[in-house]
């Protein structure tokens, strides 16, 4: 039972931290790309959209190559650590968070954006108002990001190494238990995985549907 608890905690810590980092980078990036007009913008959006379908094993491969002993970041000695897992999952979640945010910002009526400028908002106030206006889509962005990493197995397996008590997460735990014939434990982990997904999405949905009164 203790082991299951450890696995759940590792999963939540790794995927939670990855989502936070992806949000901190992806939301402002999505707002900027969604609002500005610059050369190559369409290419960038196409690239981000492609990133939404990034195969986790491919991300795993690249991170392993970068962090492996002979890779350019090998000196950090991070391979088979939670840090490496967070890096890999951030890379997986980032395009999702960014792309959904871009879509949400682009959906805002340009007249409303102009109105916000005309009201005399500073740059910071402007961003806050626009993000709040796109809040529903931004929450979808976070849900999609979280969904993609909590259930992902390829990258965490490759860069985390599935070290028992260290880097085993729910998905790699299920894999391991199944291989060892411990179907009961695998089923329990699967149930927990689904429950976490449900609870997190429920919480985000409740926030999404809540009326907000401030900017």
């Amino acid at each position: 039972m203790n082991e299951i608890f450890d696995i759940v905690r590792t999963s939540l810590e790794v995927s939670g931290l990855s989502l936070i980092i992806a949000g901190v980078i992806g939301i402002p990036l999505g707002v900027i790309v969604g609002l500005s007009r610059f050369r190559g913008r369409k290419w960038l959006i196409a690239l981000v959209n492609t990133g939404m379908g990034l195969p986790p094993v491919l991300v795993g491969l690249v991170v392993v190559m970068m962090m492996g002993r002979s890779g350019p970041l090998g000196f950090l000695g991070l391979l088979y650590s939670r840090t490496a897992m967070v890096i890999a999952q951030t890379i997986i979640a980032l395009p999702l968070v960014t792309a959904f945010t871009i879509a949400g910002i682009q959906k805002i009526d340009p007249e409303l954006i102009r109105q916000t400028v005309s009201l005399g908002a500073t740059r910071l106030q402007f961003f806050r108002i626009i993000i709040q206006e796109a809040r529903l889509t931004i929450l979808v962005a976070l849900m999609a990001g979280f969904g993609s990493i909590i259930s992902e197995v390829g990258a965490v397996m490759m860069v985390g190494g599935n070290i028992r008590g260290e880097t085993t997460v729910l998905t790699t735990g299920i894999l391991q238990s199944t291989r060892m014939g411990m179907f009961n434990q695998a089923l329990i982990l699967g149930g927990v995985l689904l429950a976490i997904s449900f609870i997190v999405n429920l919480a985000l949905t409740l926030i999404q549907q809540k009326r907000t009164d401030h900017y």
Binding site: Q115, S118, L119, G120, E133, R211, Y215
Partner: protein, 364 residues
Amino acid sequence: MTLLTIKDLQFSYSERGDFTLSVPRFELNQGERVALIGPNGAGKTTLLQIISLLQRPDKGNILYDGGEIKSRADILNYHRSTAFVPQRPSLYNRSVQDNVAIGLKIRNISPDEISERVDGMLKALKIGHLANRNALSISGGEARRVMLARALVLNPKILFLDEPFADLDEPVRRSIIEDTLPILSGSGCATVFVTHNQDETYQLASRFMVLIKGRIIQSGTAYEIFGNPASKEVAEFIGIRNIIPAEITGNDNDMLRLSLSDSIHFLYSGAKPDTNKVLCLIPPESITIATDPPQLHSSARNTLQGTIKKVIPSRYMVWLEIDCNGVHLTASVTHQSVRELGLSAGKPISVLIKATAIQLLPLT
């Protein structure tokens, strides 16, 4: 006192190659209410967006309160002294109250003052009962009121309105104007508004500017513009449907004699233009129609015989297209007259036009 001055303004649209908006000078005085009028595509909204600093011109200087607007800080300060109400309903996905409060929050006003001012404005514009409703769930007319409240609650020095009452039913439009006018007059803020062609909105303006194809063609009071259009385009825009080339061929008892064709002559009592070749403007509403010999009961100096070609009913009046020996005239009469006089296509009639109702423009 001049509040806003625009000099040498130039703007070209990337997607409309040959069209340039060009305004050599525009001045707005404190408390003045200016209406920008003109046909669709004349550049009215663009001009409004440029002077409200929401669109950057290709060239030009904008001076506010004596100082030229140059830096980001100047622009921010300008936006915080003015308010802009766009043409389309554009409200934030939050309550009506929050929509109205947002500009005050941006200006870091204290919550107590915000709530007091917002409540007052919601009441003044009769939307107090909507305060807690989501702004995206209200009707079009209510949305206009919320947008006006959001702008007026800021006590702006200048208010910019882009077709603020477009797409509304006439009673709704009239009631919004009735509720807005006292607030505008009370605040003394200068107003620049774009309007397409809605008579009700004209009462808001103290000065009119006619913009045609990117140029300000005429500027003045309602009487100056509507009673004395400066060009054929302005005359067409304000609805003078009879614009007929004519020649001044002589005098007749202090009046000028105009020849519209070999057989049609008018008497005109007004100033003589520089050229003999002129355009003769006759507002449709100043043409009187008679079915019996008119000499008995009219002071009109010009009487023609004609035939009704077409009867076109509209909401307020009926348009008559009349042929008078090859000269085509359009007259407007009431629905009641059409009924009483039995006016219909093919009917011969007399057309009466006062010598004072005719305006002349030099033909260039």
